[in-house]
C-alpha cells in the first residue's frame, strides 16, 4: 500500500514531462476560480475516487462469487485470507462512501457559487444524474455483501418498488428477477453493479467532464466583469490536482487501515431463515433519512414520492428559479440566486437532521 504513496509523491517531488494527463486540461485557467477555496477540489476528487473504485473493484472481482451460497463467504475470503484483500476491500468501501460525500459537496459548491446558470444547465443535469447513479452503485454494492445485515434494507428497499401504482409489481420483478427476493436477485444486483450502472457512470462522467470544457471551463463571469483576470498555466493546475490526490489517498489509506468495512455473518439460502434478533435493521447511511421518513406512514408517499419530488425540484433549479446574474457567477453566495441557495440549504439540513434522528 505504501507503493501508492510513493508513486504519487514521485509526481509531486520530481518534475514530470507533459503527458496525456496534462493535455486533458485547458492551457490556462482563471486564477480566482482555480483556488481550493473556490472549487473545494470536489469534482476532481470525485473523478479520482471513481478511478480507485474501478481498480479496486476489478481486483475484488477476481474472488467474488455472485451466487447466494458463496457470496458472503467469498467476501470473507477477500477480507481475511487474500493478501492485501482486506485493505483493497476497505479502500473500495471508503472510496465509495467518500464519493457520495464529495459529490454532495460538489453539488453544494455549484449551487452556492451559482455555477449552474446558462450555458451549464444541461451539464448540471448530467451531474445530478451522476449523483443518483453513484448512490445506486453504492446501494447495489452494499447488497453484494449478501450477509445477514443486508436482509431488511434489501427487503424493504425492493418492496418499496411494489408500492408504486400500476408499474410497481413489474419494476419489482425486473429488479429482483422474480416474485420474491431470492437467488436471482443477487445476480441482478451484481450485473447492475459491475456492469450496467458502471457503464452508465463512465458515459455520464466522461460526458460531464467533456461538457465542462465545451461550456467554457470553470464557471466565471465574462472577462469584462472580472475583478481578477489573471490565469494560471495548466502545469500549476496539474500540480494542485496531484497534491489533492495525494492528500485524498493518504486519508483513504488511513481509513482503510484503521476502520474496516462492515461485514456480518453469511446469509443462509433463504432471507427469512437467516435473520435473527441481532441483525442490523438500519438502512445504509445514505438512506437513513428515507428510513426515518418511512416510520411516518404510507411507504409510497414517504419512500418514493417525496424523494422523487426532491430530486425533481433540484433538477428544475436552473430552469425555473431566478437565474444567477452574470457578474456573480463563480463567486460564493451571490445575491441573484438566493432562492435556490435557500431551498437547497433547507433540503440539505432536513436530510441531515433526519439521518441523525433515525435512532
Amino acid at each position: 500500500m505504501y507503493f501508492f504513496i510513493l508513486h504519487l509523491s514521485s509526481f509531486i517531488l520530481f518534475p514530470m514531462p507533459p503527458s496525456f494527463f496534462h493535455h486533458l486540461h485547458p492551457p490556462t485557467i482563471p486564477t480566482a476560480q482555480a483556488r481550493w477555496r473556490h472549487t473545494l477540489a470536489a469534482g476532481g476528487t470525485a473523478i479520482f475516487l471513481m478511478l480507485i473504485l474501478g481498480v479496486t473493484g476489478i481486483l475484488e472481482m477476481f474472488y467474488y462469487a455472485p451466487n447466494p451460497a458463496e457470496a458472503a463467504l467469498s467476501v470473507q475470503t477477500i477480507t481475511y485470507h487474500v493478501p492485501f484483500g482486506g485493505f483493497i476491500r476497505n479502500l473500495h468501501y471508503w472510496a465509495a462512501q467518500a464519493l457520495i460525500v464529495v459529490s454532495a459537496v460538489h453539488f453544494l459548491r455549484v449551487i452556492f457559487t451559482a455555477a449552474y446558470g446558462h450555458p451549464r444547465r444541461f451539464n448540471y443535469l448530467l451531474g445530478l444524474a451522476l449523483f443518483v447513479v453513484s448512490i445506486m452503485l453504492d446501494f447495489t454494492g452494499y447488497i453484494l455483501r449478501w450477509d445477514v445485515d443486508i436482509c431488511w434494507p434489501l427487503t424493504t428497499g425492493t418492496n418499496l418498488l411494489k408500492t408504486i401504482p400500476v408499474i410497481g409489481d413489474f419494476l419489482y420483478r425486473i429488479a429482483v428477477g422474480g416474485n420474491e427476493v431470492c437467488e436471482t436477485a443477487l445476480l441482478r444486483f451484481y450485473t447492475w453493479h459491475i456492469f450496467g450502472l458502471t457503464i452508465l457512470v463512465v458515459i455520464l462522467g466522461v460526458w460531464h467532464a467533456f461538457r465542462v470544457r465545451r461550456d467554457g471551463g470553470i464557471a466565471v463571469p465574462p472577462p469584462q466583469l472580472r475583478a481578477d483576470v489573471t490565469r494560471i498555466p495548466r502545469d500549476e493546475l496539474v500540480r494542485r490536482e496531484v497534491l489533492t490526490m495525494f492528500i485524498v489517498s493518504i486519508g483513504l489509506i488511513l481509513l482503510s487501515i484503521f476502520v474496516p468495512a462492515p461485514i456480518a455473518a453469511a446469509m443462509s439460502v433463504s432471507i427469512r431463515e437467516s435473520v435473527t434478533e441481532s441483525v442490523d435493521v438500519r438502512a445504509p447511511w445514505f438512506f437513513l433519512w428515507v428510513q426515518q421518513m418511512l416510520k411516518w406512514g404510507d411507504p409510497f408517499i414517504f419512500g418514493v414520492l417525496i424523494p422523487s419530488i426532491i430530486l425533481a425540484l433540484l433538477a428544475l433549479i436552473p430552469y425555473i428559479f431566478p437565474q444567477p446574474n452574470e457578474a456573480e457567477i463563480g463567486s460564493w453566495f451571490p445575491k441573484s440566486n438566493r432562492l435556490a441557495q435557500i431551498i437547497v440549504a433547507i433540503i440539505g439540513t432536513i436530510i441531515i437532521i433526519l439521518t441523525f434522528i433515525n435512532r
Binding site: L160, R173, G177, N179, E183
Partner: protein, 138 residues
C-alpha cells in the same frame, strides 16, 4: 395545411423511426428482464403432528414466519411478515413489533402503532388425515 418542406418531412420521419425503434428495443429489453427462472416459492409447510401443539398454545415459527394458534375453536395462524414493507416481526409482551420502522401489532394482529396500515394477514391451516398440521402461506 402547414408548409412542410421536403427536408423537414424527411427529418421528421427519421426522428420518428429513431424513437419508434428505440422504444421497441427498450420494450424488448424490459421483457427480457421479466423472466422468472426460479421455481415458485414454497407456500406449504408441514408443521408436524397436531399433538405437538396443545390447546391454548401459541407457537411462533420464525422461519416461515408465522404464528400458529391452537384455541378451543381449532387451529388458526397469522403471518408474521410486517404489512408495511415486509420485515419479520419479533414478539414482545403486548404483541409483535417490527424492527424496521417500528410498527406494532397486538396479539390478534391488529395495528396498534403505525406506519403499518393493514392488520397481519391470517394464514390457512389444514389438518391432514394423519393429524398433521399443514400451513399455507398463500
Amino acid at each position: 395545411m402547414t408548409n412542410l418542406s421536403r427536408r423537414d418531412f424527411l427529418k421528421l420521419v427519421r426522428d420518428g423511426f429513431l424513437v419508434l425503434s428505440g422504444a421497441l428495443a427498450l420494450g424488448g429489453v424490459l421483457r427480457f428482464l421479466d423472466f422468472q427462472p426460479n421455481p415458485a416459492q414454497k407456500t406449504q409447510f408441514d408443521l408436524g403432528s397436531a399433538t405437538n401443539y396443545p390447546i391454548g398454545s401459541r407457537t411462533a415459527l420464525s422461519e416461515i414466519p408465522a404464528l400458529l394458534i391452537h384455541a378451543e375453536s381449532g387451529f388458526s395462524a397469522l403471518s408474521l411478515v410486517c404489512t408495511h414493507l415486509g420485515c419479520n416481526l419479533g414478539e414482545d409482551e403486548s404483541g409483535f413489533a417490527c424492527p424496521c420502522h417500528s410498527s406494532h401489532f397486538d396479539a390478534e394482529g391488529k395495528v396498534t402503532h403505525g406506519p403499518a396500515a393493514k392488520p397481519l394477514s391470517p394464514l390457512r391451516i389444514e389438518i391432514s388425515e394423519d393429524n398433521r398440521v399443514i400451513l399455507h402461506t398463500s
